[in-house]
Symmetry: C2
Subunit: 231 residues, 2 copies
């Protein structure tokens, strides 16, 4: 029987990808003046981010450094210091962006809190995630909060052991098939996928995710958990 329900943060409880998208739009506008083929800017930035990921990890500061490097690369060094400062300012604006909860989030967590232990299991920059959790106003609803650099079978396994949770008692709710669903079902836990519109296109393959449910909104979680418990 499910006893612990864990939620992902970015794009499950609060909007995140929209903030990155807005900044990438500003990045395109800024560099559009320098390069003829603005269509490839997103691709170049994504390539640079992927290369830097092993050094920077996930998060806004690393993303900002990747924007600056891409700007220098695609302009052949012609980008000005003033334009680079605008990229840093865009990164700072992201760090200060208000935390916008997805629809139904506080009501759903409050409805579940009396009957389940609620966890937050999120990935990314520690300082940034702690700041978002504080600003979300949700921290008091969680029994445990875990911030990871990578969500995989190893890190979920450590969490279950540390908090003495049997896999059969654990259900993970998130928007990422690869980070929130696959590792949890591999460990024998339950998982609920709530796709986030903007990121959905990136992660398409459901084949190796194991048994899980897909919902359209977090508001449907309480009923789904009830059904899972009585199956």
């Amino acid at each position: 029987v499910i006893r612990v329900i864990a939620f992902d943060g970015d794009d499950t409880l609060w909007h995140n990808e929209t903030v990155f998208s807005l900044t990438q739009q500003r990045f395109r506008e800024l560099l559009g003046a320098h390069v003829k083929d603005a269509a490839h800017l997103d691709e170049r930035l994504h390539e640079r981010e992927t290369v830097n990921l092993a050094l920077f990890g996930y998060g806004i500061k690393g993303f900002t450094l990747s924007m600056i490097e891409t700007a220098i690369e695609v302009t052949g060094g012609a980008v000005s210091a003033r334009e680079i400062q605008l990229l840093i300012d865009a990164g700072k604006a992201m760090l200060q962006h208000p935390v916008e909860l997805l629809d139904g989030v506080p009501d759903t967590l409050e409805a579940l809190a009396p009957d389940y232990k609620l966890m937050l299991v999120t990935k990314g920059d520690l300082f940034d995630q702690e700041s978002k959790i504080a600003r979300s106003g949700l921290a008091g609803l969680f029994w445990r909060i875990e911030i990871l650099t990578e969500k995989d079978v190893g890190s979920y396994g450590r969490i279950l052991r540390r908090h003495r949770i049997a896999p059969g008692e654990f259900c993970m709710v998130g928007n990422s098939p690869r980070s929130d669903i696959a590792p949890v079902t591999a460990l024998g836990g339950s998982a609920i996928l709530i796709p986030y519109p903007l990121t959905w296109a990136h992660e398409a393959d459901h084949a190796e995710l194991g048994v899980h449910r897909v919902l359209g909104s977090i508001s449907q979680v309480p009923l789904a958990i009830q059904e899972m418990g009585s199956r």
Copy 2:
């Protein structure tokens, strides 16, 4: 009786400030060509870091962004994209810098491990700290590892509660009076200060640190702990 000995990471187990110092030297050399008064560069960088701390937290990625902003500021926007790329490269070199243990570290930890539960309690960027812990080769010696964004009475108190450690059973070993000593003695725990030469000048006031010991090297910790247990 002391049962748990916790160690700080940066400048207690491995060298950290020396890496920042080398990068700041490169920063001064690079901008020396632009500004007349290179003596003020350190000060300007430190001011920029302090302002950015609330947004960036501690860590190399934030430090790199602060170097770039300072370079733009002190040159009035005249710094070139190529020079900014050199600052990013310097930040990347810091992230890849080999983890150099202080003298006596592995021997001391191995000597203590049979009789005490050892913890690592470090502050900074999650991704960067996890990477350093992995590269240090010390991870297997620790009972628990905690990475914090801020070391204060609140965060130490949470650690003691979470791992069910009484303050009287806990001894913290570190190089920072403010982060490693004052909050721990305020909670009723023991503390051992091992000053690190380069940072020692910054934190001078011992008045409000509570009862603690000061040692010259980590190799003296086992004897000091024995004496503390039998006082």
